[in-house]
């Protein structure tokens, strides 16, 4: 390739994309400096749904904060709750029964599938295809029904407790999950034929918005954004937590670095999550779901603690600074999309607006999770 020709842009204009824009999946705003169809410069403005979870964390007791995590990322809520309970358990030395951990893993993986399904639908809708969204949401409804039967809510679960779970799963759930797995596999085949193979779809994504591994590192990208750029990074593997070491699953990695690679990673992850659910159901041990002895009031000893988990959107981390009191002294929520979205400004420079918004879709954004 020749050395890139640096262009002095023609007269530019500033285009607001968002906050009320169909492509931004919420109240994200990108101020784009455009030269015709090309983006000269983009500045992402966030904070339109900044609700100050971290301040709430400081003002509320540990159990009271549980409900906030699921409002952060309403699509893959359980993964976030998982991280929070893990860090508090680690800090206060609570031992979780094995059954509870297995159930947690199963639920998180189901939630991950639901999240990826929604992303899949929304992403294809960004590209202008409507029906896949409907199909994906039909499959998602099955998961939501299962999760609702156990947790009582459809989106914003408040299911994990420090030390265990709110309530146990029953045979109905297991039967439903077992029924669900082959159905989902069949659906995946359908999506593959309908969307993945589609020439229009591929043309829109192939080679678009390349992200180098170096760039991912500088911005701290995770999830499919990193894995689509050839970085084999998944917290479930790199820093195993919970019962993930017990499961046999693959981390899909693609080296193309383009939007299609990110898409493929997520689609493959659905299959891997199905495998985890399958194994989890097979290996599910009996026993209690709450530990026998658990402090009545959670008061982790002073110090600071960090826990990262792999949520549907990437490596989510909670830094808990405790002063030994009932409330956390400081609760930092490291959200993966925050880093992934940050990439956008630099990466979309010089792209056409259509490609840039397809790229934005491939980042899998959940805005309240960025803004917290």
């Amino acid at each position: 390739m020749n050395a890139p020709i640096l262009l002095q842009p023609d007269e530019t204009f500033i285009l607001n994309v968002g906050p009320q824009h169909p492509a931004t999946h919420g109240v994200l705003r990108v101020k784009m400096e455009m030269s015709g169809e090309y983006i000269v410069n983009a500045e992402t403005v966030i904070g339109y749904i900044h609700r100050m979870h971290e301040k709430m964390g400081e003002l509320k007791t540990y159990p009271q904060f549980l409900m906030n995590l699921s409002r952060m990322d309403y699509l893959g809520a359980l993964g976030y709750s998982h991280c929070h309970v893990l860090v508090v358990e680690k800090a206060s030395g609570i031992v979780v029964p094995e059954r509870a951990e297995y159930i947690r893993a199963i639920m998180v993986e189901l939630n991950r599938i639901a999240s990826h399904l929604f992303w899949f639908g929304a992403f294809v809708m960004d590209l202008g295809g409507f029906s896949p969204l409907m199909y994906a949401l039909q499959d998602r409804e099955h998961i939501l029904d299962m999760l609702e039967a156990v947790t009582g809510s459809r989106l914003t679960y408040c299911y994990f407790r420090f030390g265990g779970l709110y309530n146990d799963i029953d045979d109905d759930f297991i039967a439903a999950a077992r029924r669900f797995i082959p159905r989902m596999r069949k659906s995946l085949k359908k999506y593959k034929a309908l969307v993945t193979g589609n020439i229009i779809f591929r043309k829109r994504l192939e080679g678009i918005a390349p992200l180098t591994p170096e760039m991912c590192r500088k911005y701290g990208a995770s999830s499919a954004v990193a894995r689509g750029s050839g970085i084999n990074f998944d917290v479930r593997r790199n820093e195993p937590y919970s019962v993930y070491p017990e499961f046999d699953f693959d981390i899909p990695v693609y080296h193309e670095c383009d939007s299609l690679a990110r898409y493929m990673v997520r689609m493959d992850e659905i299959e891997q999550s199905l495998r985890i659910v399958e194994q989890g159901l097979d290996k599910l041990p009996g026993g209690p779901i709450m530990p026998d002895k658990k402090p009545k009031i959670i008061k982790p000893p002073a110090g600071d603690y960090y826990q990262a988990v792999e949520t549907a959107r990437g490596s989510f981390g909670v830094r808990l600074v405790s002063d030994g009191g009932k409330n956390p002294y400081r609760l930092k929520l490291r959200s993966p999309t925050y880093s992934n979205m940050h990439l956008f400004d630099e990466a979309c420079r010089g792209m056409m607006i259509m490609d840039a918004l397809a790229f934005m879709g491939s980042l899998d954004l959940v805005i309240p999770e960025i803004d917290r």
């Binding site: 590192r217 990208a221 002073a302 030994g324 930092k332």
Partner: protein, 177 residues
């Protein structure tokens, strides 16, 4: 493996070779040690400490002074660390603000490094690391929003999460809405 290397590299920042504080030796993973620490809130010395991963969730904990920060971060950059997050903690009793930088690695040689630096609460200024990690941009802006910490040399230090005309810093402990 990489942890040791990084530790050595970071330790080279402290020529005085400060001894590791005894109370946080990794051999004592119990929470009692922590409570002791809480009771004796002597401000920690600058230096590198190895932590128990199983308890704290990270391997290395380096406290540096603000002017050592860039050097420390460059060491991590060369060792192919990626930036996880930047945040602050308001130690109002000690009249200090702490800036905490989290770093981790993409490969399986896991090593989480925390770099912290303590600033005067009345004049919190710290050099920016956006020159090394472009991704620190938003994190620093966010920290500026919440704590009012000024990152010297930051290209665009305006409120990110808060409204554009915000002049308050909500995560300070003495903040009142």
């Amino acid at each position: 493996m990489i942890c040791d290397k990084t530790k050595q590299a970071l330790q080279s920042l402290f020529p005085k070779a400060t001894p590791e504080p005894a109370e946080s030796s990794p051999a004592i993973p119990s929470s009692e040690a922590q409570e002791k620490k809480a009771k004796a809130p002597a401000p920690r010395q600058d230096g590198v400490v190895e932590r128990d991963y199983a308890v704290h969730g990270y391997h290395l904990d380096a406290q540096v002074s603000p002017d050592q920060l860039l050097e420390a971060v460059s060491i991590l950059d060369e060792a192919a660390f990626f930036i996880e997050s930047i945040t602050g903690v308001d130690w109002i009793k000690e009249n200090q603000l702490e800036v905490v930088y989290d770093f981790s690695r993409y490969d399986f040689d896991t090593c989480r490094v925390v770099i912290r630096t303590r600033l005067d609460r009345n004049n919190p200024v710290v050099p920016t690391i956006t020159g090394i990690y472009a991704g620190a941009n938003w994190h620093e802006r966010e920290t500026h929003d919440f704590f009012g910490i000024k990152f010297e040399g930051h290209p665009h230090l305006i409120p990110l999460l808060l409204p554009e005309d915000a002049d308050f810093h909500p995560l300070l402990k003495d903040f009142k809405a």
